[in-house]
Assembly symmetry: C2
């Protein structure tokens, strides 16, 4: 393994040169997962000395990306390995503190790019907890004893039910603004306003009160769902778990499968997975992600699928793609554009679509579709230019075609390529393109694409299951440009060079605006309004300057602010 | 007049020390307003030497805030002075160029605070053009000959119909990203995506193509509504004006009134208007805006109202309040909090509400309500902490109560104040609070306030027209805190001191998130998603650093970018 090119922003505490998103319960340093029948409990018990980067300790159950990677892993395992679980209880493994939120020294020392992408990942994890409730029926109860501050309360906000001990000191708080001159950046203000629907003036008071709110007022202001005497905390948690289990549509679904470790091999210029490969062309600032179609036909039955477990091609590819995207996001900041390619037999990919559709009520198939939904959303939200190249020998069919629709542009080659015997590029739509994968705006990618014209959406749907050549795909509006062999190389090269020449920041802003036409949801508001403002604040000297609040926190010196209101 | 405290960011070209939002057609330097029957034409013919600030010329019909102040004034005058006008044609007064957008040298030299507030004002003006079409029936046709680039095309996007000459060179373009490393910041990308519903990949190509798009492709990509041969330009404009006039619900509404100049008097520590006063407490970074109730009872008839013209109290107050807010926004960046107070007879204010309700179908009453709607939205979008103090002698009734609901918090004094014979504070709701003044999210302020509980909204509505004392107003959720005389001074003082002590940037971000719960509209997306990203980009070295694109534009030197994607 040669990690020379994987430059993190500051030294990782584990001596590696790359943040790894793969973990497993046996390796957790910060969470304890306990499963008792249909109730899972995740205890947050952060190892102070287990920080991701050098230079700070994770005191008071504060977290960094490393802690959140474990949480995300635990949530995935509940989905796939524990289909019997109906309720997740989130609580602290430490006395007198629930969670102090994102570690301030980590934030103060992190690069802007890391901070922004750290917040994005934690947001995705919390959205994943809500998706687990809404779409898989696994409800979450958050039981707070001690203080849930900042990111700690934001984690609680992702739950279906928030309990707070009424002991005169336990409180919920969003102290970011008074304490650090930043926003609660992991969905806090959006969930307070739009999920909990806290009245705006109370929200204003709450978000500017460093010590937070406790007891009855926390219930009256809708910040928590109930307060519970300390003496009855455990029994009330058990009672709530039972109640929410009864409301859950989950469980009794058969045995889970094991999310085996991904087999990856990192080289200086790429990452090789089983079902995809990533190649970095560093001079051009391009990462090419080539997705491979299935090597074998779909299994004969759901039992055979379950026996394959994590080796089942759609699941394997989704997990590997997710890891590949996260690796680019957090370890490869210089990549300007991600180029998606594919290779394989389109008919085989369609056969998998049919298999999944035929078994869409099976719990594992549902979870695989939901995983793809989340991976595709992760792609939508990746701040790199995204382009799909549909070339001879490719297999952008159904779910894989969705990657093309997630891209900022797509280029499709007309006919065969000179001196190449691969079959001409085709595209095909499947049922999954018309509902299985809503974007964060609540629409499918094709509905977003054809916002101007429902007739165009209907025309595309009328062709579904058919093999579409480049000219047909372009006529239907499914690709941006269909080009012949003569123009292809130049057009693609010029596009990629141009993309690398533009200001990365303006591309981030442009893409964040153009990718999400149409309606907004709480989720899209978090990634648009809230994140954009937080990113702005994370750049401002009042927060990150030498005299700013993040830098001066804990020094005893007060921050010095530029008093201009902008 | 003592302007010592009105510090603009760099010298104004007119030698003043304060940007003035008042103007009149006879003083326009950049626009020519021609009215012919029911068709008004605004010719953009920018005076190169008429820049707002020193240091740049307004070449190629480019604009700065001064140009936009005239446009905003012209639109207001069409509303109030020309009710007979059904169609507005926007075109250039110069050959071969429509408008080159915001002046780049102005942007390069402007402070961050000015840039952000300039964009906000221009956005409000364009939203006002759309509101004029949607709610007052005055349709806009934009006729482009030459290039409409950047802010020039963004102005066109506000129109109901965009015509482009098909002469092989006239084009529409959003060249901000390739040229300047910023976003089209005046609604461009949002209107392209959400109003024109341009397909996202075409929008991506368009927004990264410096020279823009012309001819048929501009129509096919939905960027304009039609292309017209140069030889038929004038006749087609006339034909479209006629068609849109036929669609307009406006006109034949009686004679307009004159928007007489506001009588204002600026002192070192305040501004005195007729119906309101602004007092600056500079050490505390507070601006107190005291609204005065009417001095006389409502007129006996709509004819009498029309005869009063701009002296009619609701209209006079709205215009003065708008000017006061804009003055704080653009000239008083150090103000942390705006405190709203009022003085007057609540019964008289309610009498005006009844007068307006009784005559709500009269064109002038409708325009006055729409003006209040826009002024209240301007308050919502003002990035200062907003607080309303409801004290003895105040008159927060109906429309004025709306200012309290626009505030981040409100404090209401219970009973009388010691040593003061003013009547205890009351509040009263009128019909206007339940529909006349939607926020940019499409909801009324009370509906946004009671998002969690429609029952609370109904309970408030049940009390409308009633005089509510402080405790009742608090019980109904209409004010944040009801305090007695003993606590009042300390609580208010502590709040205002605290507000001034917080980081201005984090307050801007917090308030922008908490003020707009619930649904999103194109308008709210512009001020949230788009503006927040643009503000971020406006801070980034890739745009504004010494080697950034804005600073290096026109020097012949290429900008140097930090290549990290964030």
């Amino acid at each position: 393994m040669n990690d020379a090119h994987y430059k993190t922003e500051r030294p990782l505490a584990n001596g590696q040169t790359r943040i790894d998103f793969q973990t497993a319960p046996g390796r957790y340093r910060h969470w304890k997962l306990a499963i008792d029948g249909d109730v899972a409990t995740l205890f947050l018990d952060v190892d102070e000395k287990g920080a991701l980067f050098e230079g700070y300790d994770l005191k008071l159950n504060s977290f960094d990306l490393g802690v959140d990677i474990e949480l995300a892993d635990a949530i995935e395992r509940l989905r796939f390995e524990h289909p019997e679980v109906r309720v997740l209880v989130l609580r602290s493994g430490k006395p007198r503190v629930f969670c102090a939120g994102a570690n301030i020294r980590m934030l103060a020392g992190a690069s802007h790019a890391h901070k922004v992408n750290f917040c994005k990942f934690t947001n995705e994890t919390r959205n994943g907890i809500e998706d687990l409730s809404e779409n898989s029926g696994l409800k979450t109860v958050c039981a707070i004893s001690g203080t849930a501050a900042g990111g700690g309360y934001e984690l609680a906000l992702a739950a279906d039910h928030i309990m707070l001990v009424d002991d005169g000191s336990s409180a919920v708080a969003l102290p970011e603004l008074p304490l650090l001159a930043v926003l609660p950046g992991t969905g806090g203000v959006t969930r307070v306003a739009d999920k909990r629907k806290v009245r705006r003036d109370y929200a204003d008071v709450f978000c500017t009160t460093e010590e937070g709110v406790k007891g009855k007022r926390a219930v009256e202001w809708r910040l928590v769902d109930e307060v519970v005497p300390g003496s009855k905390f455990d029994e009330t948690i058990a009672a709530r778990a039972k109640e929410f289990a009864a409301k859950s549509g989950r469980g009794a679904a058969g045995r889970g499968i094991t999310l085996v470790p991904l087999a990856r091999s990192f080289t200086a210029d790429g990452v090789e997975y089983g079902s995809l490969a990533v190649a970095f062309e560093r001079a051009g600032r391009i990462a090419t992600v080539t997705l491979r179609g299935p090597a074998v036909s779909p299994p004969a039955s759901v039992e055979a699928m379950a026996a394959l477990g994590a080796e089942f091609w759609p699941l394997k590819l989704a997990r590997e793609l997710d890891d590949a995207i996260l690796n680019i996001r957090l370890n490869e900041f210089d990549v300007a554009a991600i180029v998606f390619k594919s290779s394989g037999d389109p008919a085989e990919v369609m056969a998998y679509e049919h298999f999944l559709d035929a078994n869409k009520d099976h719990w594992l198939v549902r979870e695989i579709r939901h995983l793809w939904k989340r991976v595709l959303k992760r792609i939508d939200l990746t701040s790199r230019s995204l382009v799909t190249l549909l070339e001879p020998g490719s297999c952008f069919v159904g779910t894989l075609a969705e990657i093309s629709f997630a891209s900022d542009r797509s280029y499709m080659l007309i006919g065969a390529r000179g001196g190449d015997n691969k079959p001409p590029a085709t595209m095909a739509l499947a049922d999954a393109n018309f509902g299985a994968y809503p974007m964060s705006n609540g629409l499918t990618r094709l509905a977003s694409r054809f916002l101007a014209s429902p007739a165009d959406l209907a025309a595309a749907k009328a062709e579904h299951e058919k093999t579409l050549d480049a000219e047909t795909a372009q006529r239907l509006g499914l690709v941006t440009f269909a080009l012949d062999d003569i123009d292809w190389d130049d057009e693609v090269r010029v596009f990629l060079e141009e993309r690398a020449s533009f200001s990365p920041d303006s591309l981030t802003g442009l893409e964040a605006n153009l990718r999400f036409a149409g309606p907004e949801t709480m989720e899209s508001k978090i990634f648009a309004r809230l994140s954009a403002w937080q990113n702005w604040i994370f750049q401002r000297p009042n927060a990150v300057g030498e005299d700013g609040a993040l830098k001066r926190y804990g020094t005893g010196q007060k921050p010095v602010f530029d008093t201009k209101r902008v």
